[in-house]
Amino acid sequence: MATLVQPRPDEPVQRPNIASAGNRLPAVRDYEQVDRDIIRTLQPTLGWFAALGIAILCLLIGITAWMYQIHEGLGAAGYHPPVMWGVYIVTFVFWVGIGHAGTLISAILYLFRAGFRTTIYRCAEAMTVFAVMTAGLFPILHLGRPWKFFWLIPYPNWRLIWPNPKSPLVWDVFAILTYLTVSATFFYVGLIPDIAVLRDQETNPIRKRIFASLSLGWRNSDKEWRHFTRAYLFLAAFATPLVLSVHSVVSFDFAMALTPGWHATVFPPYFVAGAIFSGIGMVFTIIIPLRKYFKLQHFVTINDLDAAAKLCLFTSMVVGLAYLTEFQVAWMSGNRVEQEYFWNRVFGQWAWAAWIMLICNCVLPLSLFSQKLRRNTSWLFILSLFINLGMWFERFVIVVPSLSHEFEPWQWGSYAPTFVDYSILLGSFGWFFMWFLLFMKQMPIMALAEIKEIIPPKMRQPHDPAERVHDLDSLTLDPINTAGDD
């Protein structure tokens, strides 16, 4: 939103509407530059074709492995009693978690007026939609008869028996479908004014017609903007509790069971914090190479990354606290099975996975207390890869050790993923990045209209620079200081 400033005492009373926005992106001079610099990223390049080729190759490997699994049965995926949830459910929760940062950045940070979201939220929203699309594949991949996937939808069978609405799996269907629909709607609504920009600048008649259809005849009129900004605000207000609810519901899939390690009331906030943490990690993984490759450092400034890194550090510490709380609850519960399970998790059979999780999610992010490292994009990118790894292992540590170490020793077992699991995991990354790469060549990867809001508009009568003192936003950030940027 444009920044409102207090009028100066000597300012003429009859002209209260003169803009004096703070200058958050000093290297961006005008609206035309915003369009020019961001729309040029739509031109396909050799690097883009190479990346798309790799993504499609990974996807094909995953599809081949899935075909093999359908032919051979679920046993090909390494499932055997007692561990009947493995890489697929781990990866499902991982991708749902990745999908959370997009709506967090676009909705929650919008409501809080966090300025650093403006240049990164479009990528984060696209990431959300494609991550949830990826997550939605895994319950189907996990089925022995995937062609019966529609049985997941709550509708009655031929004897008119409905699914039990007290089951967490039914809640999951409602939560995930709502999240996918609302996220996709939020994403598309935000895109409409930007598609109108593409429509107005496109010279190819076919593409122009496609953009005209997708922009729904948007004209940038004051009436449209007035309704748009209201609707966007309400969508953000709906999406905010939705973000918190969806991963809470996913956590109920575990917490409602009596299995050791799962039956804990800390699970909903623990899952939500973990989801946001992993999502921010993936935002760094995507946005840092993008800003370097397309030379967009003057849009995604080092200050924006610094602010996002602080959020990453905070959520890492919340996740760390949740890990400690789990151990404390097990210790104080007096429940021998629970205590045995947690001991086994950290010092026993699954210690290797648990320590990867702890180091990646709790130890390495502590480096972000250093401002120098927060502003070092190379370190942020490397750290984001560790966070992605650590958060995948977090879900592995939640799912597999509990199932392999339940109440009775005769139930205890082990689990080792096969090449089918690994191939499908690789294929999910191929599927996700294929959609993202296709998106970034068709639509602007940054929100043109919202970035224009934070650029000082052209004025006939330039204002006294001293007036910026009234703008608190410009005092909180130092846009000139880009030390540590690449």
């Binding site: 444009a2 939560a175 920009v197 429509r199 004209r219 004051d222 224009k452 006939r460």
Partner: protein, 166 residues
């Protein structure tokens, strides 16, 4: 529909032109702007957007449906467990909440489309592609008798281009 369209490169010029047009009793003005600006909104003094009503009605319908469907399912094929209630509102709150968000959000978008009159097949008279790029546009619907007065006023405030359109 006929009128005058003025294109402005600077925001303050456009704001002053709107204020002057309103003083001269030119009504039903439309402003085109590449991005929403509070300055333009203050100059236009528009009524509150009715989108909020669609949000409220959609949300209420959603939460009602979200509670009704699991309660109906539970009563339709009752699973009686140890004297516990057949329909339990606590777990059904999850479904109620999710459907409130789903239907409330879709109603909001539907409301925005309805009151903004989109989708539309064509951009209307007076619209120019530059208004999504960097310039501001002011469309004044007037009859032939006041057309020159409106055009003169727009030029006076620094319009880079003024056109009569019909």
């Amino acid at each position: 529909m006929q009128g005058v369209i003025g294109a402005f490169a600077e925001l303050d010029s456009a704001v002053h032109a709107i204020e002057d047009l309103r003083k001269q009793n030119f009504s039903d003005i439309t402003v085109y702007t590449p991005t929403p600006r509070h300055e333009l909104e203050e100059a236009m003094q528009p009524p509150k957007s009715p989108v909020r009503r669609f949000t409220l009605i959609g949300g209420l319908l959603g939460v009602t449906f979200g509670y009704w469907i699991p309660i109906w399912i539970s009563d339709y094929w009752a699973l009686v467990v140890g004297g516990k209630p057949v329909a339990s509102w606590v777990p059904y709150t999850i479904i109620g909440f999710e459907l409130m968000v789903l239907i409330g959000s879709l109603a909001t978008v539907f409301g925005m489309f309805a009151v903004s009159r989109i989708p539309r097949l064509t951009t209307t008279v007076g619209y120019d592609g530059r208004f999504s790029h960097g310039d501001y546009g002011i469309w004044v619907p007037v009859g032939p008798d006041r057309m020159s007065a409106a055009a003169e006023l727009l030029r006076k405030h620094g319009a880079v281009e003024v056109r009569n359109e019909r």
